[in-house]
Subunit: 744 residues, 2 copies
């Protein structure tokens, strides 16, 4: 009986247990959503295995072949060559096996400037009887078939007005305000032509600064000392024998000071969009300007009259750069001759295309990580911009493959942008941000820009908002340096460019995006989107070149890139992997890898520099610096607080609305620094921390410029403007701190 | 045996079943997050039962007692009475049983204007020998103890400059531009004093429009015809015998055209904030101006010289309003006399407080529904603003009780704001939006304003963004009309104010928030936050009063409100319940109750009105209207699309990030209409759909005003501005449409 009872009991226990097991594991909970399939998805973080696999698939040879395809023909904005690259991008991004979810083109009608192919711009030396004693080269000398391509555009200054100027030549160094001032103290500049060298001032400024002195035309060239590490008389020392600029090389460029389509500021440039009257455009040369090669500049400068210019005006030609005249030495073959400048540029509103491609996010499709680069070049544009585009295409190929195979889909959406008409002033990217202003403002996590991917193959150059420093470092540590087995990109970087952080100790130096050098500008300055810009760069101890020597010339070709910039394309690969790791981390991380404490550190740096430079002066004017100090301290406190909230959370298991909330705090932080009224005279600049600054001090730009002006003028209204900027900056920082505090 | 086996089997089945039940319901699933407690919370919608209970608890007697407490003493901004109301709000919102999660005060240092208590402003009729023949009342006549309170401020025009003007009197109707123009064609206005009636133009405009004609001082009064439905000679017909304005009643007011602290535009007015030089302030009277009661106006106007003014200049005094002179009739006792105006106002930067209170949201604390009203009055301010504050306190009491008892907590955070210094130009609310600009922009779902809760007890007046129409209707249908058993607030409303919607058929008319009449303005115009404003109002067939007659006088007291405006406080209760239902629906709905299709309907209305008025003229100027038409059509398509997405979703059971995404699309829609550069001359106006318009046409305001100017001047630059505004509006609408489309 006991046995039977025991057996019955055991049987009962077994049945009960079986029941419990079935009940617990065998039946999905109904009602509520406790069994919802999305519960695990929403808590998923970066898959490091997938990421490693992805990076290993980023292939140098693919990048090389992308570059070859992109640089077959010159592809200046809106030309037939540009259209070929549009088609190439669309084909790749619409590829059924390795394309994106969607890709399309978007067109804008934008104001461009071209030389007249039938009437090339000319620079001649003419004597009193109008005989041409010297004529500058119209095009660069051909060393490969590339330079002979019929679509190679003549070197010219985009947005230089057409015009004909004839006058005595003077040398004006870099064409800065101070250069013309000094010159004008020695020479009557009325009716002269000034020859200037690239560097030291913005392109357009060389003409804008000249005109008030009566100068009627400007020439610009690249001094060998600024690009070739000295004057190379031996032609065998320059390209095609080295990376150095050949004597006929001339840098093209856009000669304007605002970015975006100049006729439609703050509007997308569509067919019927309101356009400014052309005569209302500001920031372009008021007088004709034309670039020439240094061989022609040599022929002119070494013949100039006058006495020796100051030491810092001397370039590297083997002659003395004279200040004086105006005109040529009486002993010169050019004695009494004028320089004649004939510019036939014309402006035209033309259709320029962006090519867009997207991978839809699985969990948060309404959060965007944007990765972009421009597509247009001046000539073949192998380095600028095709090195970046080659890398972008390789990243999109590998990620696209995973998406098409169904093995991966990012948490957030990824948008790739191939911008048009960047060379004319970041036009494609600016129009994009103007057209989709609110949508992008509200949803964009970050913008990654890789334009010139590789300037040289020494180490990584990264610039961006301080909040991104962390993820850049993580990525850089994960990727091997080009040609290195044991060193990472990070290891190389810290060797070349480093600083000591009070918190992190010695770390690589991440730059700030204070200018408008590439398509990050509209994202940073107009939208206030957390952005970064990456490239591989050169060892400054080995060259003084202001940029890679073929920049904006007809020598920036596949041949040049593959032989002199990055043989084997390993630096391209390293940049691609670093950018790719950042991209996937931004797109896939559960918690955005942004550090607001690192932002606090930069604000503290800015504060200290600003106080050192200006505090005494402000106090003398009874302008309190307390609001600034308090704001930065409040920001630090708020950042520390948010870091704590994050540390104490179990974000993978708490409601997905919690991590979303924190991510929104991080994502929108930079938006709090926008003030559309802060810089009424700086088109497109709204980010009060990173705006460009005339003073150049590493502190709050508006405040710094206002202080410079006030200290120089000592006018009460200028000091009032200083006070205004103290309020602009301190209230923006307070506003940013509010974003980091408890949400209620 | 069979029995035993059966018993054993049954027992076994029972045990197994018990086990299954225990296993399924008794044990939380572990691993993953499938057992997470938040899964059900995040999908929860409005609890209609809780809502009904809440509304039933909103009590008329509590509202009455709130009003009594709030109106004990005059509480003009920054006075001792104001501080008493600050303390009252804090006490209520910090109450341990019915308070909010947190409450605190926030202070701003703002620029205010007061009469000198020691030297009252004076208006006198003086003859050639400087004898005063008539002196206007300095204060209103006392009918109850309230008017005798020592803190009753003299009627004055805030921001009128101090000054002394003496000259011949002229009658200038409403003081509009056209009124002075007509007057100046008949009289030399140099050195005159103009008497104007309230209405027809902004307060400050009556002086601003006068000064260019040489007028040196302005009086303003309320004509009985505009407030009392006719001239009441019998004192027994006005308060305290009816709601009508007594003969000595004078409307106080702020005489400025911009809102917010005038010294710190776009900044929070903190101690060290940059302040404009006082002489740079625009939009205030350039000459002294002073309000007087109609008994004094009667004494002056009926003695004026000249011939009969046009019919539409005639008010309701039993005399002819003459145009001419200047000065009094030769037959008048005032013959040859001047009017002398002595204004002793002074300006002062003073501390004004907002009182803030919050209930933290349970699921989405980072989404805010803001409910606010100002606290400051001109005198006792029973109706304006304390009727609204009494309602707000009752809503916060009932909701606070639920929170304190743990029986309810909203999905989203609720922020209550009791704004300071509204009467001086919406200062408290404006400073709040300036201080927390980005935080509020990014997180605020909606702003609900209930200022004057009850003007009269006929029907609901609601104004707001069209997307809110739906939730306003839902709430209005849910609440019984005051004094009605069978009719809802909605039923009454549709009787009095209705329109026929192409989609919905006959519906009550919801107005638009195009002005700056109360604290919604900074939310709508500066932040672009979806807002609404509610009150109960009067039957226009029964009165022509431009506003309730005690408005801004010493008669706006508890006695007045409880005897003539809303005896029994049932209209207050109905407004409170309607606003309360909207508040809880906005805070608790899973899907925000916003209709973007209703927004599309309003844009279509605006488009059609605009095309009817201007299309022909635009085409004659070769300005295409296609961008507008296309933008509105695209918005409609996008709205229809989002409606479909919503219909096809099962939001309670899908990932909470989906409903969040859709809610963000709805919440941020209005932000896309902001353009900080659209109205460079209209301080604080950035919303291109709802900005105020000088033309007054029910269409896009910037475009409409630009068209008016261009049609009148026919200057090419004015037509260019029209084209500019076509682009402003069409690109804003396109930008809004992008917000509603698929997020990628």
């Amino acid at each position: 009986m006991i046995k039977k009872v025991l057996a019955g009991l055991l049987c009962g226990v077994a049945l009960l247990t079986a029941g419990i097991l079935i009940g617990h594991y065998g039946i999905e909970k109904s009602g509520g959503s406790t069994s919802a399939s999305w519960v695990n998805d929403v808590g998923r973080d970066v898959d490091e295995k997938m990421l490693e696999e992805f990076l290993s698939q980023v292939d140098n040879i693919h990048i090389q072949e992308n570059l070859r395809a992109l640089t077959k023909v010159p592809h200046m904005a809106t030309t037939a060559g540009d259209e070929q690259t549009v088609q190439l991008m669309l084909k790749r991004w619409q590829d059924p096996d390795s394309g994106l979810d969607q890709a399309w083109r978007e067109e804008y009608m934008v104001y461009l400037s071209f030389p007249d192919p039938d009437k090339p711009n000319q620079v001649t030396v003419v004597n009193a009887s109008n005989s041409a004693l010297h004529t500058a080269r119209e095009k660069e000398k051909a060393y490969t078939a590339d330079q002979n391509h019929p679509d190679v555009v003549q070197p010219y200054a985009a947005y230089s007005p057409a015009g004909h100027a004839r006058g005595k030549l003077v040398y004006a160094n870099y064409g800065r305000v101070g250069d013309y001032k000094l010159l004008s103290q020695n020479v009557d500049l009325k009716g002269t032509i000034a020859i200037t060298r690239y560097g030291g001032a913005g392109r357009a400024d060389k003409a804008i600064n000249a005109a008030p002195h009566g100068v009627i035309g400007v020439l610009v060239y690249t001094d060998p000392g600024d690009i070739n590490d000295g004057f190379m008389s031996d032609i065998n020392e320059t390209y095609p024998h080295s990376w150095y600029m050949p004597p006929s090389g001339a840098e093209r460029g856009s000669f304007n000071t605002h970015y975006g389509d100049m006729l439609t500021p703050y509007f997308a440039a569509k067919e019927d969009t309101y356009r400014l009257p052309v005569e209302n455009i500001t920031g372009i040369p008021p007088i004709p300007i034309q670039p020439i090669g240094f061989e022609d500049a040599y022929a002119l400068i070494c013949e100039l009259d006058g006495g020796p210019a100051p030491q810092d005006w001397q370039g590297s030609f083997n002659c003395t750069y004279n200040l004086g005249g105006p005109g040529f030495r009486p002993t010169s073959a050019f004695a009494n001759s004028d320089v004649k400048l004939d510019v036939y540029n014309y402006e035209e509103v033309k259709n320029s295309s962006n090519v867009m491609g997207v991978i839809r996010g699985s969990v948060e499709p309404d959060r965007y990580v944007i990765y972009g680069n421009h597509r247009d070049s001046w000539v073949h544009g192998a380095i600028d911009p095709s090195s970046g585009t080659s890398v972008m295409l390789e990243l999109s190929r590998v990620l696209g493959q995973k998406v098409k195979r169904g093995t991966w889909r990012p948490r957030r959406s990824i948008i790739f942008g191939s911008w048009g008409a960047e060379e004319f002033g970041l036009i494609g990217s600016a129009e994009y941000t103007e057209q989709y202003f609110t949508k992008l403002s509200e949803r964009t996590v970050a913008y990654i820009n890789v334009d010139i991917a590789v300037l040289a193959n020494a180490f990584l150059r990264a610039s961006g908002m301080p909040s991104l420093q962390k993820v850049i470092f993580t990525a850089a540590k994960q990727v091997k340096a080009p040609g290195q087995d044991s060193m990472s990109v990070y290891d190389k970087w810290i060797q070349y460019a480093n600083r000591t952080s009070p918190v992190h100790g010695p770390i690589p130096r991440v730059g700030y995006l204070t200018g408008a050098g590439s398509d990050y500008a509209p994202f940073v300055h107009h939208l206030g989107i957390t952005s970064l810009d990456l490239s591989y760069t050169y060892d400054r101890t080995k060259t003084k070149a202001r940029i890679y020597p073929a920049y904006h010339t007809a020598y920036d070709t596949f041949d040049y890139a593959s032989r002199f910039i990055d043989p084997g394309f390993y630096a391209h690969q390293a940049v691609g992997r670093t950018a790719g790791s950042i991209l996937v981390r931004l797109a896939d991380s559960l918690l955005l890898p942004f550090s607001c404490s690192d932002y606090a550190e930069s604000l503290e740096d800015y504060l200290h520099v600003g106080l050192d430079l200006y505090e005494e002066k402000l106090h003398a004017q009874h302008i309190s610096t307390d609001p600034l100090k308090i704001a930065v301290a409040n920001f630090r406190k708020a950042a520390t607080h948010l870091d704590q909230v994050i540390r104490r959370s179990d974000l993978a298991n708490e409601t997905p609305l919690k991590v979303r909330r924190i991510n929104d705090q991080l994502m929108l932080l930079d938006r709090a620094f926008l003030n559309p009224l802060a810089f009424p005279n700086k088109y497109g600049y709204r980010h009060v921390i990173w705006a460009s600054s005339d003073s150049g001090a590493a502190t709050f730009p508006g405040l710094s410029d206002a202080c410079s002006r006030a200290m120089s003028s000592d006018k009460p209204s200028d000091w009032a403007d200083v006070h205004y900027h103290v309020s602009v900056v301190s209230q923006a920082i307070e506003g940013a701190a509010y974003m980091l505090l408890d949400v209620i």
